[in-house]
Amino acid sequence: MRIGIDVGGTNTDAVLLEGNTVLAANKSATSQDVTAGIIDTLDRLQAERSFDPGQVQAVMIGTTHFINALVEARRLAPTAALRLGLPATASLPPLVDWPQRLVDAVSGRSYLAHGGHEFDGRHIAELDEDELRRHAADMVAHGIRSVAISSVFSPVSNEFELRAAEILRSELGDDVAISLSHEIGRIGLLERENATIVNAALRELAASIVDGLAGAVAGHGIAAPLYLSQNDGTLMDVDFARRYPVATFASGPTNSMRGAALLSGLDTCAVVDVGGTTSDVGVLTHGFPREATTEVDVAGVRTNFRMPDVLSIGIGGGSLVASGTDNDVVTVGPRSVGYRLTEEALVFGGTTLTATDVAVAAGRAEIGSADAVAGLDPTLVKAALARVAADIADAVERMRTSPEPLPVVAVGGGSILLPDDLPGSLAVHRPDHFAVANAIGAAIAQVGGEVDRVYAIDPGRRDAVVDEARQEAVDRAVAAGADPAQVRIVDFDEVPIPYLPGNATRIRCKAVGDLRLGQS
């Protein structure tokens, strides 16, 4: 048995799973006190379906605490950003593109030091240990409690980041948290560095939240290991979570998509979450969301986190329906009555024609008073629902990554707007329990490992280099706790780098496997 809990800003969802079967599920308001909230959630699960805490093999928690702390700029530690790369990179020092408000919130101080690598692993400059000690003394003088270290091309070689961390630790003591960029981001210095600084600023909060979660689970008599969900739908253990809180940032949408896919029994599909104002469309390939290829702004900071690619369009249950004179040309959205649906929609006694009203009129759902929409022109109803279906189908089409047919999993309160088949012969699946899809997504998460690096490929060596990259991704997944017998490559991308002589190629490779569970 395993337990999945998703702690959102508003609601906390929890499920008890045996294999892929939902034994119990509940939803409650998220409480201010994290520990008390988890205890309460576990009590509710226990009340719904009595279980022996000793039989629980793992507890997986997805949380929005850390991204919310950054967005609200609260509980952030005084942080230093140390970059190794001089004399290169001085044109844009660390924190240069951050909003001032956030720099102030982390009491941000930036330091440049010698070091860094070329794309092929040569040194730009040697590390200057005295220089690092001088920077460390300045950090002490300014009350820095957390440090982010970035080094040029550290995804190619991590040696300088590791050595600088040793030196800082010997100068600053073991209480100062140190975050290393090669463990957090990919190529793209500023974006990787930004993610690392954000991580550093969240380290103290991470320690307290993780302690709270672990205490709540242990307090319930559950001795099984605790894991947190990461952005890409894989898991990290609590020690990792203390060190890499930033890796939880986008776990919400990822868990939601993966949970919906599991409930529908599909592992390659589009997931359409139809809300009140918008529909969010994501695509899962072999159970994992496609990642956004563009940089992502979080609270005004540009980063290259591994975020799921989600397309939002302005169609939801509250979308306004407007028509021309002959009722066969209609528009649906993007304007919406939003949360006022239960006051303004016709079926709720209001005076605004919404998408929900036409769905009820067409007999797709029983919501409010069907009599209130009985008089709608059938031509209008048909045209409005056809417009919704065409727009959603178009969004799915845009998100596809290959020409193969793609089934659609519809979740969310507004999914009543969708027909059983979308244009383009896309079959629509509507799973049960979708209200707790987030928690299910957390509970079924796997463990992964990734490689993202530039390789100079000598003639005839391509296959060997590719094998090497794949093996390293697999090794990393196993090191993170994956069952070696289960690990497989789920994502492989090879892009030649333009304007470089020699066959320089950037290879990204991701391996995942089921969590190696102890028998209880």
Binding site: A88, T89, F119, F153, L190, L500
Partner: protein, 358 residues
């Protein structure tokens, strides 16, 4: 005379990426660097080609190497200014103006940084009117102007000067040095007098980039079609609208070579366009027949946002519009075609102009 401020850089970078025809890399980093330089040193004065004194000493400056590397290994504090100073010292002259050698990616913003750091005005023009991958591929080559003496400077402080027997040799030697310098170097080359710039440059390129970038912004703000705005601005034509259904890339020395297939939608329904690229888009074929080739511009924009898409960023599923626009007329001379025509890049085709096959 006008001035360029940090507020103009978004439009400049976007417009330059349009003229960059898929090459030049992600313009974001160049924009950040230029913003920082303008923040520290103040705005840069823009001078029209017509207003250049005949005896002006104009030093163009550019980044050479891989934009992907520059995104990781950022320039040192004054690397860009040092490249200009190194060349100035070798030729024994005091520079009076800075210029762009090409439009596209980081090379439209690197000269802005040099101008800011050195406190010199920037020429409103460039050597190509678009982007090409090799340093001899500029109109000054056609006018008999030599690329060298040229300086090449890395972020570690290494400085070199080449004085070569031809512009092709300059490309060859500088390319080797760039690799040893870590694949991202700053070069200053094609030192010219004001009269030579007037005779050999494409005038008004910066203004064109700014106007194109602003036209895209304005169209989006007023809910008009940003793609049509670019077509109007460049005097080009729409070739195709569709969805990217295939991208094939091949690893070959120094080039991101490949083909992308765009299945037609709307007005292009039933037609298939194939883009052939080597860093830049060089040939567009519809249903097997070439419709536009280098040296004219083949531009790929996101159909909805009008955002230019680089060849590295092309992905399955993107909705794109492909446009063609005329290049500078001098590129169509026999010498121009020999330098940058389809055969130079290995395509056995006669050049086809953007507006030829309407």
């Amino acid at each position: 005379m006008t001035t360029l401020t940090a507020a103009d850089l978004g439009a400049l970078a976007r417009g330059a990426a349009v003229l960059g025809t898929g090459g030049g890399g992600d313009p974001h980093i160049g924009r950040l660097l230029a913003e920082q330089a303008l923040r520290v040193h103040g705005p840069v004065e823009i001078v029209s080609v017509d207003d250049l004194p005949d005896d002006a000493c104009v030093l163009p400056v550019a980044m050479m190497g891989a934009p992907t590397v520059m995104v990781e290994k950022l320039p040192s504090a004054d690397q860009i200014a040092i490249a200009v100073r190194t060349l100035a010292k070798y030729v024994g002259k005091t520079p009076t103006h800075i210029a762009c050698i090409e439009a596209g990616g980081v090379n439209s913003t690197v000269p802005v940084i040099a101008a800011a750091q050195l406190g010199l005005p920037l020429v409103d023009g460039d050597g190509m009117g678009r982007a090409f991958p090799e340093l001899q591929m500029v109109l000054p080559t056609l006018a008999g102007i030599e690329a060298t003496p040229m300086s090449i400077v890395d972020e570690k402080g290494n400085r070199g000067v080449f004085d070569t027997i031809s512009n092709a040799w300059a490309e060859r030697l500088a390319r080797s040095a760039t690799v040893d310098m870590g694949c991202s170097a700053i070069v200053s080359l094609y030192a010219m007098t004001g009269a030579e710039v007037r005779a050999s440059f494409v005038p008004g390129t910066l203004s064109q980039c700014l106007a194109t970038g602003r036209a895209i912004d304005a169209a989006r703000r007023t809910l008009r079609d940003p793609v049509a705005a670019v077509v109007d601005r460049l005097g080009g034509r729409m070739l195709h609208v569709g969805k990217v259904v295939d991208v094939q890339r091949r690893t070959t020395t120094g080039f991101a070579r490949g083909d992308a297939t765009v299945d037609g939608l709307d007005t292009s329904l039933g037609r298939l366009l194939v883009l052939r690229f080597q860093n830049e888009h060089l040939v567009a074929e519809i249903d097997g027949a070439a419709v536009t080739t280098t040296p004219d511009l083949i531009i790929v924009l996101d159909t909805e946002s009008g955002e230019p898409i680089t060849t590295e960023a092309l992905r399955y599923g993107q909705r794109v519009s492909v446009l063609a626009a005329p290049s500078d007329e001098r590129w169509h001379s026999p010498a121009g075609i020999e330098l940058v025509g389809p055969r130079y890049f290995g395509y056995d085709l006669d050049p086809i102009r953007a507006l030829e096959t309407v």
